[in-house]
Amino acid sequence: MTRNITCVTCPMGCSITVEINDAGEVISVSGNTCKRGETYAKNEVTHPARSLATTVRVNGGIYNVVPCKSSEDLPKEKIFECMKAVNEARVNAPVKLGDVLLENICGTGIDIVATNHCPAK
């Protein structure tokens, strides 16, 4: 099986073709113009990951929500599950930038951290 992906490592945006066997292992990578593209393509077909940036509801803050992000890229297929968990969470003001708001989200070992301050009302 082959998969076509667009490399996002740099603005070149190379179209890369990756060949995979039935076990899901990468057989070949073509179309990339650099080594970083190859690494990206391999990761993208075997275990794609994305950063998640969203908001968490705050109780008693000057804003309703505080922005947050995953401390590392999350497995792509878990993004909506993680969104659901973040949406159900409530944190109390004050929140400081860098505060860990949710630990080990959905068992990924990755935390959700605040990316801004939200002082108490």
């Binding site: 113009t33 994305r50 950063s51 969203t54 908001t55 309703n64 993004i79 930038l97 801004n116």
Partner: protein
């Protein structure tokens, strides 16, 4: 009447970087005036990551990127006033501003840095026919509602324009449970970053229709649908390609316009392409002691470049205040062919350092050559694997080269496929 050496209009990434740099260059008396409730500018609502890769070598969110500068402003005890609107800047560098606490402020400055940023192009400028229902807003307005206020501006969304804010909002609305039906782009290419097309649209199976526009909007109270159509090479809708899409929201991401109302009031000369001031390599306008930087000067795609440009302006303002400017001898810069514009538009050949020229192209190129010439003689030729309208480019003019130029000369940049 208040007196400051430097007044910075705008406390976003541009204004803060300029003020910090001016302080580092030895200017003590600085005042930043910001119209929003907090410093940080539009970054406060840009909660996605991808900021700071160039400048900090890290993937930061907008608020995090802004916070690094806010902390520095505070540590350096640079004075600032938020919720303060500048009403007027006069030719003699008197700044009139107003806020609730101080009332009307009259501030005399030795130098002024204009860093007001830009605004989004509204619907009216596009003249889309149809109803006046609610549910039509710019992508940036929707971003504020979702990320700051925590409210959904719609559930079934069509986005017109594939600028980065539009792409980012396609993902953001999807993550929050909305259905984004499609993104329509009038041009045959997207002005957004490739990374955003992949991670914001392809990841979520959101179709991107190029050479397509919205030709009608339906709905009496709230939007109920839009009609889209393909366009020909003259950007005119092609009859027979019309298609109705049911939606309750139309987000517009159709371009950014530098906010130069204050600049115009001073009488500062503007560049017709950038819609920003004409500046020299320190970003000084044609009014001595008035500088401009960031998106008010020309719309940037990366905030990292805004920071770098604003530091140059901050240094320029400091030099001006300290009387180090000297008598300039200018050459001009000129984009030719596919090079739509160059900033700065003029360069002082007495400058003691290298000068970076930033430019933007009008169409996409692969494996192109960027050529720089002086009065018709080619000086520099550089291969570029890729050039795109959405990505700002630069070339450096070394100081020893600059020294060989004469006042009144012209530097031209062209691109050859």
């Amino acid at each position: 009447m208040l007196n400051y050496d430097l007044v910075v209009v705008g406390g976003g990434p541009a204004g803060m970087a300029a003020a910090i740099k001016a302080r580092e260059c030895g200017i003590d008396s600085i005042l930043i005036l910001e119209r929003a409730e907090t410093l940080g500018g539009i970054l406060e609502q840009c909660i996605h990551t991808g900021f700071g890769l160039q400048y900090f070598g890290e993937q930061l969110s907008g608020p995090e990127y802004a916070d690094r500068f806010i902390e520095q402003v505070k540590e350096m005890n640079i004075e600032y006033k938020t919720d303060t609107m500048v009403l007027d800047v006069t030719e003699d560098k008197t700044v009139y501003a107003v806020n609730k606490k101080d009332g009307l402020l009259e501030i005399k400055a030795k130098a002024v840095i204009l860093a007001m940023g830009c605004r989004e192009r509204p619907r009216g400028a596009l003249n889309i026919p149809g109803t006046r229902a609610s549910g039509i807003m710019t992508a940036g307005t929707a971003q504020k509602y979702v990320n700051i206020d925590g409210y959904m501006p719609g559930k079934k969304v069509v986005i017109l324009g594939s600028g980065d804010i539009g792409l980012i909002m396609a993902r953001r609305m999807t993550l929050e449970g909305a259905k984004v039906e499609c993104v329509c782009e009038l041009m045959p290419y997207s002005s957004g970053l490739t990374r955003n097309i992949v991670q914001c649209l392809e990841d979520f199976d959101i179709p991107l229709y190029l050479s397509t526009t919205v030709i009608d909007i339906q709905g009496k109270d709230r939007v109920t649908g839009v009609t889209i159509a393909s366009v020909d090479e003259n950007r005119q809708p092609i009859p027979g390609t019309e298609r109705n899409i049911e939606c309750d929201t139309l987000l517009l991401s159709v371009g950014l316009i530098p906010e130069n109302e204050l600049t115009k009031n001073v009488g500062i000369g503007l560049d017709r392409v950038t819609n920003g001031a004409v500046v020299d390599e320190y970003r000084e306008t044609d009014h001595e002691g008035i500088f401009a930087c960031g998106n008010v000067l020309h719309v940037h795609d990366l905030v990292d470049f805004v920071t770098q440009e604003s530091q140059i302006a901050g240094e320029g303002a400091a030099r001006y205040i300290q009387g180090k400017k000297g008598k300039p001898a200018y050459i001009s810069t000129k984009g030719v062919g596919a090079v739509r514009y160059i900033v700065p538009q003029k360069v002082n050949i007495n400058n003691e350092g290298d000068v970076k020229l930033f430019f933007r192209v009008g169409s996409t190129f692969k494996n192109a050559t960027v050529k720089v010439s002086y009065n018709g003689t080619e000086l520099i030729s550089r291969k570029r694997p890729r050039l795109a309208p959405g990505e700002m480019e630069n070339v450096t003019i070394k100081n020893d080269m600059l020294k060989t130029f004469a006042e009144g000369g012209v530097i031209e940049i062209t691109v050859e496929a």
